[in-house]
């Protein structure tokens, strides 16, 4: 068991490996590169399936539709992602969004200034987010679930109470309407809003100190306290940003519908959480990629769109959505295992 015998053995193993994997090595790295795409791979598979099954799927018009349909989920999922990174949850995003559109609609009754209406929407949404964050953190609540469930209920109630006739109010200022109908390079304006928010948040989480703190707080809150990280402000900030994202979502949705309604955003909390979790984040905090969460959102959008295009009956749509989401996540789990396996294989080959 000396070093030299060891080395001989290793060399032999290496030669054999080299012989039968010379050409294999390249395919291994190719497989690895492919698998490294992560959930994107699954999304691509989904898109490929959809475009085989329904001819209209890959039309430019439809892609632009999907983008518009997905943009609200995607933007709100970005905020949800931040909250989940810190072990939290925000159940109020949908109701918050609805309340923001109603507030915007009410302001529009008074003035048709785009800036004021947008500002009112964002202010309303951020206020709710701040209420969530401050209530959770300084109320020393055991989990954000309860307070955000409470604000869900409260926001929905307020939105219904205050909207004229308790229902949809039509009309939005020109600036917002323009956003809804704008197209750049054939893509809807909302797509660029998603892109902008995503890039901004990505820079903040990956490039800024604050983002590092979010990961630290999510990874181990006790350690974060001990290391002198301002844990409470960091937590509050994530809820405020989740609120802000809901507000931006409200603007995008209002732009699309040219209206505001207390019923908007129904079950949006489940859609966004699903997107984040499909993207590989964990309720135990500190893990997850923004990009993956966006992919999760697009997956949900693509699925709904494809089923509509295929004229699948409503009941079967529900079944199919459940089943395919499940399969997509399971496929990603298997992909992850395969990637780890392949990586080990490559390491052995390279030795």
């Amino acid at each position: 068991m000396t070093d030299s015998t060891e080395r001989v053995r290793e060399a032999k193993a290496g030669r054999i490996a080299a012989l039968d994997t010379r050409s294999g090595a390249r395919s291994v790295s190719l497989a690895l590169a492919l698998l490294g795409f992560g959930p994107l791979l699954i999304l691509i598979a989904l898109i490929a399936g959809a475009s085989l099954l329904t001819p209209n799927f890959l039309k430019l018009g439809n892609i632009s539709n999907i983008m518009a349909q997905t943009s609200v989920i995607a933007i709100v999922a970005i905020g949800q992602h931040l909250v989940i990174l810190t072990r939290g949850i925000d159940l109020s995003v949908g109701a918050n969004l609805a309340l923001a559109t109603v507030v915007g609609g009410l302001v529009f009754r008074v003035t048709d200034s785009t800036v004021l209406v947008m500002g009112a929407m964002l202010l309303s949404a951020v206020t709710v987010g701040a209420f969530n964050g401050i209530g959770y953190v300084y109320g020393r609540l055991p989990h954000a679930f309860i307070i955000t469930l409470a604000t869900l209920s409260i926001c929905r109630g307020l939105a219904l109470q205050f909207s004229v006739n308790h229902t949809t109010m039509r009309g939005m200022p020109d600036g917002i309407v323009a956003l809804g109908s704008s197209e750049i390079l054939g893509l809807p304006g909302s797509f660029f809003v998603v892109l902008g928010v995503a890039v901004l948040v990505l820079v903040m989480t990956k490039g800024m100190v604050w983002g590092r703190w979010i990961y630290a707080v999510g990874g181990k809150p006790e350690s974060a306290v001990q290391m002198g990280i301002p844990v409470r402000p960091v937590l509050v900030s994530t809820y405020v940003l989740a609120g802000l994202c809901a507000g931006i979502g409200a603007i995008v949705l209002s732009a699309r519908t040219q209206a505001s309604s207390p019923l908007y955003g129904n079950l949006l909390e489940l859609d966004t959480i699903a997107a984040v979790i499909i993207g590989g984040a964990s309720f135990l905090g500190g893990r997850g990629h923004l990009g993956h969460a966006l992919i999760g959102a697009v997956m949900i959008g693509v699925l709904r769109n494809a089923l509509n295009l295929m004229n699948v009956n409503v009941f079967f749509q529900m079944i199919a959505i459940g089943a395919i989401i499940l399969l997509a996540v399971e496929a990603d789990v298997l992909r992850g295992h395969l990637e780890a396996r392949t990586r080990a294989l490559q390491a052995t080959g390279a030795r």
Partner: protein, 281 residues
């Protein structure tokens, strides 16, 4: 001593708000009537409505006028009847249930036929139709589609898309977009509820098909007026919720007083087009 009744509606939309107004108007006219109002939270809030009925009984009402959200509430209504509470149904019936004193309603199936009748005048063999359904599992909404299809049966129209909208504008716009994408030449779209029709109008507008697609809605509410004004929506079916409530409460009060009442009261429906829309606003 005033008569005390309960008035329960399904969930917060203008339709039911108008019904409450109708009930209040009747109470103001007739006098000697206290009404306790209650409302569920959503189109599927069955348990919530059951709890409402039970608490009305606890409060000692002599009668209940209700828009049942689901046939399920019949059992609870039976319990109320056992405590000598009269029950009048409004808006939709409970199939195979004998407990009601009266039913005041738009006949949804008939109203659906009204919509079908309009479509029949504008569609011809070989045309295509997309359908925006309401909430899956809610009979009144299904009847609007069934009635429309029955009336249309003479024309060979192909149904090219059917999606559920939960009667929301958001899903209305999405499903309509997808129908338009899958079938760019679709002749007409029919929506079983108002908000979804408004959403469909928006989708049609976004696709710049304003004058190419025939849009028929239902309820004439929630933005349909604007769509019709703009020439995107072609027709809708209006109900008369104000009258529905008035007739319902009237029947309830009569039966509490021991007077005979009609078992089925039709509050009517009407086709709305751009020509007569002013009458319904």
């Amino acid at each position: 001593e005033n008569i005390k009744i309960g008035f329960i509606t399904k969930f917060p939309v203008p339709f039911f708000a108008t019904m409450e107004d109708g009930a209040k108007a009747y109470a103001a006219e007739s006098g000697g009537l206290d009404i306790v109002f209650g409302q569920g939270a959503s189109a599927t809030d069955i348990e919530g409505q059951i709890a409402l009925i039970e608490s009305m009984v606890t409060q000692g009402v002599q009668g209940i006028a209700i828009t049942p959200v689901d046939p399920t509430v019949a059992t609870t209504l039976d319990k109320a009847i056992a405590q000598v509470v009269k029950v009048v149904l409004m808006d939709n019936s409970i199939p195979d249930w004998e407990g009601r004193t009266a039913l005041a309603t738009t006949n949804n199936y008939e109203a659906g036929r009204t919509a079908g009748g309009y479509l029949k005048t504008v569609l011809k063999d070989g045309d295509t139709l997309g359908i925006l359904e309401g909430v899956p599992g809610v009979p009144a909404l299904d009847e609007r589609v069934d009635g429309m299809l029955a009336e249309l049966s003479g024309v060979k129209v192909e149904i090219v898309g059917r999606g559920t909208t939960n009667c929301t504008e958001e899903l209305g716009i999405n499903v309509a977009e997808d129908i338009l994408t899958a079938n760019p030449g679709v002749t007409a779209i029919y929506s079983a509820c108002g908000p979804a029709a408004a959403g469909a109008a928006q989708a049609i507008k976004n696709a710049k098909l304003d004058h190419h697609v025939i849009l028929v809605g239902f309820d004439f509410c929630c933005g349909e007026a604007e769509a019709m004004e703009a020439g995107i929506e072609d027709a809708s079916v209006a109900q008369f919720p104000f009258n529905m409530a008035k007739y319902g409460v009237e029947a309830l009060v009569k039966s509490i007083k021991g007077e005979p009442v009609e078992n089925l009261i039709d509050s009517g429906s009407a086709l709305v087009t751009k020509d007569n829309m002013k009458d319904f606003m």
